[in-house]
């Protein structure tokens, strides 16, 4: 199956079997390394991408569903201001996710802050509940996201003033 989609701001094409999971195509065809192959069925939460701007598990998306859509992986996301805000928030409270899960944790944080600029503790814990890596203590993670929310609020109000 020939398909075209936008990957990290560039239009790309590939020829793969329609039943291939998206994470497999991104890893094998486009050499994306931030996605990790864990369970392949939505349980480990280490293959998060931004699919049309929203965090999604790439193992639960077959490649045919990506045709014409916009996909952003951590490779591109880490160069954005939103990522800087999250990293700053995490650093403030010494949250340092391991290399394996950091991309997914960052993208999930982005999803949380995007849907609610002032997230509650329960909401944050719920969002991370399926992320199986336990390298960060959950309460620290909550503090990190809340801190990032503060920075995001400041940045937005600064942008508005400008």
């Amino acid at each position: 199956m020939d398909l075209t989609f936008t990957l990290n701001g560039k239009q790309v094409s590939c020829n793969v079997s329609a039943d291939t999971p998206l994470f497999r195509t991104l890893m094998d065809t486009f050499n994306i390394t931030s996605i990790k192959h864990g369970c392949s069925r939505g349980m480990c939460g280490n293959c998060v991408i931004l699919f049309n701007g929203k965090p999604r598990l790439s193992c639960l998306i077959p490649v045919f569903a990506a045709a014409g859509q916009e996909i952003i992986t951590y490779e591109r996301f880490q160069k954005t201001r939103e990522c800087t805000t999250i990293v700053r928030g995490f650093s403030d409270v010494h949250v340092m996710p391991c290399e394996y899960c950091a991309p997914s944790k960052m993208l999930i944080a982005f999803g949380i802050l995007n849907s609610n600029p002032e997230p509650e503790k329960e909401e944050i814990l719920e969002s991370y509940s399926f992320n199986a890596c336990s390298c960060v203590e959950p309460n620290k993670l909550v503090q990190g996201v809340m801190r990032a929310a503060v920075y995001q609020g400041r940045r937005k109000s600064y942008d508005r003033r400008k």
Partner: protein
């Protein structure tokens, strides 16, 4: 020997007519909605996908949510996130809770109502919540020139053994939930049904009560790999009891539940048995707490 190399063909219908026609022509095709089916398999890839895949995303009618004075109608492709956002104030609380606990936001923005109900061998949160209410589901089949739709009661969607009861050429298109107001509604999700279906239990209660007695009590226990249990004897053991329930009434009702579950002891694991009984007892004590706290 070589494996078959032909790639599956993907069909993306945009209207109900096209969808029904495709389903009629290819009854063995894999239906792709939100990915719940993948989560339910232990070894999902490579999975035995048929040679045809029908992708439902572009059938707009399937994502529609509408309401009348008497009922709420939800398209099978409506995602949990959409249903919760749209129907937050009109969904019965037990159903809203069942949907909200089906998965974290990243899953609920993708998982669909129909997908949750139509996994052949797994009963999940939504089925548990819906089994308490007067619910009809619409199945459509036939040819595009003569689409045949039929509404069936929700409990007829599954066989007694727990399997899905839809003809190969039919597809679930809408779910109609009648409004029913209860004074006490409770949903508890114990375990993780996708990951550990043999340990998990989904428990839902709907009750109406006055100041002094329970007038209507419904309880549903869902064992993911087995099915949904609604036992009239257990329900009648609580209905018409005066409030608050006494310890002996709770013991009696709990004993009734234990007896009913014993009939399925070959299919229910000991932990599911224990969890069901504990959830039931807890729900009764929460009912008491609510009444006493008035």
């Amino acid at each position: 020997m070589t494996a078959e190399s032909r790639q599956p063909a993907v069909f993306e219908p945009t209207t109900m007519g096209e969808l029904v026609e495709l389903r009629h022509r290819m009854p063995k095709a894999t239906i792709w909605a939100g990915g719940t089916g993948l989560m339910s398999r232990y070894y999902p890839y490579p999975y035995p996908v048929s040679r045809e895949i029908i992708h439902l995303k572009y059938v707009a009618d399937l994502s529609r949510i509408s309401r009348t004075e008497r009922y709420l109608e939800i398209g099978a492709m409506a995602t949990f996130e959409h249903v919760l956002k749209t129907g937050r104030h009109i969904l019965p609380p037990v159903l809203a809770r069942a949907i909200a606990t089906a998965g974290p936001p990243i899953i609920s923005s993708q998982a669909t109502m129909g997908g949750n109900l139509c996994i052949p061998d797994l009963r999940l949160n939504l089925a548990s919540g819906l089994s308490l209410f007067s619910v009809l589901v619409e199945l459509r089949g036939g040819r595009s020139q003569s689409i045949q739709g039929r509404w069936i009661p929700f409990n007829k969607l599954y066989q007694k053994e727990g399997g899905l009861q839809i003809k190969e050429t039919e597809i679930l298109t809408r779910i109609r939930i009648s409004f029913d107001e209860g004074d006490f509604q409770f949903f508890q999700h114990i375990g993780f049904p996708y990951r550990y279906p043999n340990d998990s239990v989904l428990f839902a209660v709907f009750a109406r009560h006055g100041d002094s007695s329970v007038s209507d009590y419904r309880v549903s226990i869902t064992i993911p790999r087995v099915g949904i249990f609604r036992d009239r004897d257990v329900e009648s053991a609580v209905s018409n009891c005066s409030l608050p329930l006494t310890a002996s009434e709770i013991r009696l009702a709990s004993g009734q539940l234990r007896e009913s579950l014993q009939n399925y002891s070959d299919r229910i694991t000991p932990i599911q048995y224990a969890r069901s009984v504990r959830a039931f007892e807890r729900s009764l004590s929460l009912l008491n707490t609510k009444v006493l706290g008035r």
